[in-house]
């Protein structure tokens, strides 16, 4: 194989492109700029930590199933861990969102980072909603019957039936978490590529 042929391969081109945009020292940096030493920058990673707990507790719930999480004390505990991880996940995500909104974090070519964050938030809302209707208890029955009219009014009800437990469970444990995790990964990689957005005064050239 000639050098020109190797250069033309998609694996070669992709590797060079990835290495160009995201060298190892950028992917896993040793230090961050001084302005990152603030509590407001903590909530992104708090959201990721909570998401990890959500996924871990969700895997255990998926392995053991509804009868276990409804009837055993350990099942109740893991079920509650799942719920409270979600509460922390959304709490941290909203504070992260407020922080980034007031920093105008889309500055400096970071618009795609902002957009992936917004779409991740929407996917997470959908994941939480399908989780509420997949609890297999009176609460989930109440929520799904309350939600069906609103969902049907949008026209989505023809393919997304909130009264169909099997469908809601599949959306909750397969499709939406997959979307949320893939989007979160892209979001974090974009933060690594573009770096953390500087404060306004730093952007103007003054150091803090």
């Amino acid at each position: 194989m000639t050098t020109a042929e190797i250069e033309r391969q998609w694996t070669t081109r992709l590797r060079k492109r990835v290495a160009g945009h995201l060298p190892p020292e950028k992917l896993l940096p040793d230090t961050q700029p001084a302005y990152v030493s603030s509590w407001i920058y903590v909530f992104g990673v708090t959201t990721i930590a909570a998401l990890s707990m959500v996924i871990l507790s969700g895997i255990i719930l998926a392995i053991r199933g509804p009868q276990w999480w409804h009837s055993s004390s350990i099942g109740h505990f893991i079920n509650s861990t799942h719920l409270w991880s979600v509460e922390i996940f959304f709490f941290a995500m909203i504070v992260h969102l407020w922080g980034k909104f007031f920093m105008a974090a889309w500055r400096g070519g970071r618009s795609l980072t902002w957009v992936t964050g917004v779409v991740t938030f929407l996917a997470s809302v959908g994941t939480a909603f399908t989780g509420y209707v997949s609890q297999t208890n009176f609460d989930s029955q109440w929520i799904s019957t309350q939600a069906k009219d609103g969902i049907n009014a949008t026209g989505v009800g023809s393919i997304f039936n909130v009264l169909n437990l099997g469908q809601m469970l599949m959306w909750h444990i397969v499709l939406l978490p997959l979307a949320a995790v893939i989007l979160t990964t892209i979001h974090v990689l974009l933060v690594r590529v573009k770096g953390v957005v500087p404060p306004f005064e730093d952007e103007k050239g003054t150091t803090k």
Binding site: A34, S37, S38, W39, E87, F91, I94, V95, G99
Partner: protein, 60 residues
């Protein structure tokens, strides 16, 4: 453990939820408390000193 149960009894969970009605806004007290906590956390995150910030500034 009994101590924890007595703490749980402080919040009656068997009653109907309490709601705040404000025009078109209809909000449960529980959600209202969470929103207030988020705002307080946001403000605290802006103003509380971050550990090691001064040390990092000096080393740069």
């Amino acid at each position: 453990m009994a101590y924890l149960w007595s703490l749980a009894a402080l919040i009656p969970l068997d009653n109907y939820g309490h709601y705040i009605h404000w025009g078109v806004i209809d909000l449960s007290v529980a959600n209202f408390i969470v929103i207030v906590l988020m705002i307080l956390t946001f403000i605290a995150a802006l103003f509380l000193p971050f550990p090691g910030r001064n040390r990092r500034k000096e080393s740069q």
